[in-house]
């Protein structure tokens, strides 16, 4: 199918470029199966199919797009010919007309690897795995009111064509998620854990130790008081570190915000923004991680971007319009929620690089502070460099030891450079979580990952 589609789209693009300076086409298809079970409900359903085509036209000054999930090729050509003529007619003759370069020639098909094919395991057996996990969670403690066990496999198939590129990619992602609900005296708390990787069944393991830890942590949260607000010496676990990376200099480095003059980071390029021991990347070429791919939704091949190098801000994450406008070198960050939505500059796999210290060295170095775990979400403020990270767990560290005294929930806020400049130790571990989704503002949800090592820093908490 991909070969036929590429040929048809190639013909269409060539035709449209007789009318406008640049055209491209992207076909996206997603399929898969999602199993979800809890104590009282079960479902085995196909992943919501998001199959459709988006055709991009550039008239030398602006982009025009048509997207649909149903079309006849002849009528599509007629529709797009009309659209291209209208776009060409919309050119403001008092302003310059600019060219979009299609990039280096690539004609290739890509496919992600996996060790164990989910399709080789009968659906009934996968359902039993999900049931067993749920039952283990429910049986783990009388306070467990319910547990939701999710196993999902999603195959994403993309075809991108412009006059220099004709590419396809096929990526298998597997998700294994467990949510535990613990109730006592009318109060219910929930806690989640899991794995999401571009991989097969090999990524689905969730050990019994992890389950026991989740239940124990959830029980602790039932009685955990809130923290007195203040500035604390904190150690963040890799999950929490990852959300800081994402919110600090992930969103703030998306260069479509530069075009809109609402990212303070533009003024700090090539300047120190973090302690010299801090390095941060966005890397879609980590194909095994859930934010990985071979090319983005605008046909740019995946490659790592070193965002912060030894504490110095390096470069941003681009989509095609912003790279063109700013004359920046492209990075593979043009991503869409689906064919029906616009591409924006978006993160992929975003993480702090590992350092030299062990987790034990970091915790034992803290005289009086807090260990932050179970991060749940965050929010960016690229223009003012404010940060918000929320989580469920702040455990007191006293004289270099975890005390078991837990506060919940907890929120971290602050000014991004203050926070990153305060990083005094970087762990030698690194773990990347693929469980999250990222919005642009409050919409445009795409899959990405966040991660990093344990970090020690000063932070305002409440």
């Amino acid at each position: 199918m991909a070969a036929d589609l590429k040929e048809r789209l190639g013909d269409l693009v060539a035709h449209l470029e007789t009318i406008v300076p640049y055209a491209a086409a992207l076909h996206k298809k997603r399929s898969g199966t999602r199993i979800s079970v809890n104590r009282v409900q079960e479902s085995v359903e196909p992943e919501d199919p998001a199959q459709g085509l988006v055709v991009t036209l550039w008239n030398g000054q602006a982009f025009y797009e048509y997207a649909a999930n149903a079309w006849e090729w002849d009528s599509l050509k007629t529709t797009l010919t009309d659209d291209a003529r209208a776009a060409a007619a919309a050119v403001d003759k008092s302003k310059p007309v600019e060219q979009i370069e299609p990039g280096a020639e690539i004609r290739q098909d890509f496919s992600s690897g996996f060790e164990r094919d989910p399709a080789a395991l009968p659906l009934a057996e996968r359902l039993e795995i999900a049931r067993e996990r749920m039952n283990q969670a429910v049986a783990a403690d009388p306070l467990v009111a319910n547990a939701v066990s999710i196993l999902a496999h999603t195959v994403s198939e993309d075809v991108f064509v412009n006059r220099a590129k004709s590419m396809s990619q096929k990526i298998l992602r597997s998700d294994s998620i467990l949510v535990v609900f613990v109730s006592k005296d009318g109060l219910t708390v929930d806690i989640h854990n899991g794995v999401s990787k571009n991989a097969g069944l090999e990524a689905m393991d969730l050990s019994k130790g992890t389950l026991r830890g989740m239940v124990d942590d959830a029980k602790r949260l039932l009685t955990a008081p809130r923290l007195d607000p203040g500035v604390y010496d904190v150690v963040t676990d890799p999950e929490w570190s990852g959300i800081i990376a994402h919110e600090c200099f992930g969103h703030g480095m998306e260069t479509d915000l530069y075009v809109r003059q609402r990212a303070l980071s533009q003024k700090y390029l090539s300047k120190p923004v973090a302690a010299p021991i801090v390095n941060m990347f966005d890397d879609p070429s980590l194909i095994g991680e859930a934010g990985g791919f071979f090319f983005d939704d605008e046909g740019q091949p995946a490659a790592p971007t070193h965002i912060i190098k030894d504490g110095v801000l390096q470069r941003g994450l681009t989509d095609l319009p912003s790279a063109h406008k700013l004359r920046f070198e492209r990075s593979a960050n043009g991503r869409r929620e689906s064919f029906a939505r616009k591409a924006y500059a978006r993160m992929t796999n975003t993480f702090f690089e590992s350092g030299q210290s062990t987790k034990d060295q970091i915790i034992s170095s803290v005289e009086n502070g807090l260990y932050l775990r179970h991060a749940t979400n965050g929010m960016e403020d690229p223009q003012a460099w404010g940060i918000q990270v929320e989580g469920l767990w702040a455990e007191r560290i006293r004289d270099g030891k975890l005390t078991g005294e837990v506060f919940s929930p907890v929120i971290m806020t602050g000014f991004v450079p203050d926070l990153l400049m305060s990083i005094s130790m970087v762990g030698n571990d690194r773990w990347i979580s693929g469980l999250g989704m990222c919005g642009k503002g409050h919409k445009e949800w795409v899959k990405n990952t966040t991660g990093g090592p344990h970090l020690r820093m000063k932070a305002r908490l409440a």
């Binding site: 085995v44 025009y64 999930n69 109060l187 929930d190 809109r260 918000q388 929930p409 806020t413």
Partner: protein, 433 residues
């Protein structure tokens, strides 16, 4: 094409089925500064098919095999295969049976669609936005997005139910910048309405410009326990944990354990909370004529004077819990209190009050009611006047803190709520300087 699907389903021996047809047209416009960056047009069509197959479990009790799938036009040639797959999936899962509804009472005539919506609106919206911004001092546009969608829905099932509705949606997000000295600060405004007459760009620009100018002068709040008045954007999600306590779906799934008759908020001097699910509000985003099972919309009181009186239950969860069908939860409506909004904004003598209008993200945990959020826009109000603030955070637990909260008597209708214009909390934790 709907008949192709229903014909295929009728040929199978199914306990029941339902098909929801959706056809959407979307026009989208994107401005970077004041220049057009992109114009988009999107046409989509899909059918969501639910298959019900009741079978006997090993112990003889009836259990429901249920499977849903969504199919798009290019996949229709493989419809039979998709039904086979759904039937197989349904044969694997075990759920408590419930019945679908046949034709019943006519749905109320709720205003959901604006017939005037057309592609030309994009030009009109851009002109109105630029015109409104031009009237503001020390304000310029960073970016704007407009979406105008028209959605046609039709729901049919094996019992002969056949209902339809047309919805429209107008959505914008725009960012205003204001300069003070060498620095610019922003304010993000986003809102969604169904009807053009409610899509008041000029008023939104006026209020957002005030907030952008205030942000340019803003400092951190103090740290401690303070009276906090919430208004504007935070109201959109504020009452969600109360709605969750009234959810039959969450109750059945053992994620909340409230039962009718139980106090949801223990009164401690605050205004009592009375809350409705109201899908009948004209032009509101969570309004509908009929819900996902074809139940006609109705306004239902869920919480009266702090006490849960009814659970919001669609057909499925009403049968599971043996309670009346109310239809899916619609817009949140909350009764106003006694005090005027302006009186709530006055701090007690010798104290300060924080009036907060926007957060980075404000999503109270629906299960626990706990909330924490970074402050994007607000004022520290004291006898000396109002000082703009930005940064820091506010935290609390909704059910506990509502016990002493006071509600303004004036109410506002926003995207999907009709609620008091202001909610004054006696003492929330503020973390700032």
């Amino acid at each position: 094409m709907l008949s192709t699907i229903t014909d295929a389903l009728r040929k199978r021996k199914l306990s029941g089925w339902q098909v929801r047809e959706g056809r959407r047209t979307s026009h989208q416009s994107f401005l970077a500064l004041t220049e057009c960056e992109c114009r988009r047009r999107v046409d989509t069509q899909s059918w969501t098919v639910s298959i019900h197959q009741v079978r006997a479990a090993a112990d003889g009790r009836p259990v429901l095999g249920l499977s849903n799938f969504r199919i798009t036009p290019p996949e229709l040639p493989s419809l039979d295969q998709r039904i086979d797959e759904a039937l197989f999936a349904a044969s694997l899962v075990t759920n408590q049976p419930f019945t679908l509804a046949g034709p019943g009472a006519a749905a109320p005539d709720v205003e959901l669609a604006d017939p005037s919506i057309s592609p030309k609106l994009m030009d009109e919206f851009e002109e109105r936005l630029n015109g409104a911004i031009a009237r503001e001092k020390n304000i310029r546009l960073s970016a704007a997005e407009f979406f105008a969608d028209r959605l046609e829905l039709r729901l049919v099932n094996h019992l002969g139910l056949d209902v339809s509705q047309i919805e429209t949606s107008l959505q914008t997000e725009f960012i205003l910048l204001s300069r003070r000295g060498g620095e610019e600060k922003e304010f993000i405004d986003r809102f969604t309405r169904r009807l053009s007459r409610d899509f008041n760009i000029e008023e939104e620009v006026r209020t957002s410009a005030e907030q952008a100018r205030a942000a340019a002068e803003a400092g951190l709040p103090r740290t401690g326990k303070f009276a906090v008045l919430l208004s504007d954007e935070p109201l959109d999600r504020l009452f969600n944990p109360l709605l969750a306590r009234a959810s039959a779906r969450l109750k059945y799934n053992r994620m909340v354990d409230a039962t009718p008759g139980q106090m949801i908020v223990d009164p401690a001097g605050g205004d009592p909370i009375t809350l409705w699910s109201n899908p009948l509000l004209p032009g509101a985003s969570d309004s509908y004529r009929y819900d996902g099972y074809g139940t006609p919309a109705q306004r239902v009181c869920l919480i009266e004077n702090n006490r849960l009186v009814c659970q919001a239950a669609d057909k499925r969860y009403a049968e599971y819990l043996g309670i009346p069908v109310t239809g899916e939860a619609g817009n949140v409506e909350v009764e106003g209190g006694k005090a005027a909004f302006e009186d709530l904004r006055k701090p007690a003598p010798g104290t300060i009050l924080y009036h907060l209008q926007a957060f980075s993200a404000f999503e109270p945990n629906p299960i626990t009611g706990a909330f924490s959020a970074e402050i994007r826009s607000g004022f520290e109000v004291s006898a000396a006047g109002a000082r703009p603030i930005k940064g820091g955070s506010v935290s609390g637990v909704l059910q506990k803190d509502l016990a002493r909260a006071r509600l303004s008597r004036e109410r506002v209708q926003r995207e999907n709520v009709l609620v008091p214009k202001g909610v004054l909390f006696e003492g929330l934790t503020v973390a700032g300087a």
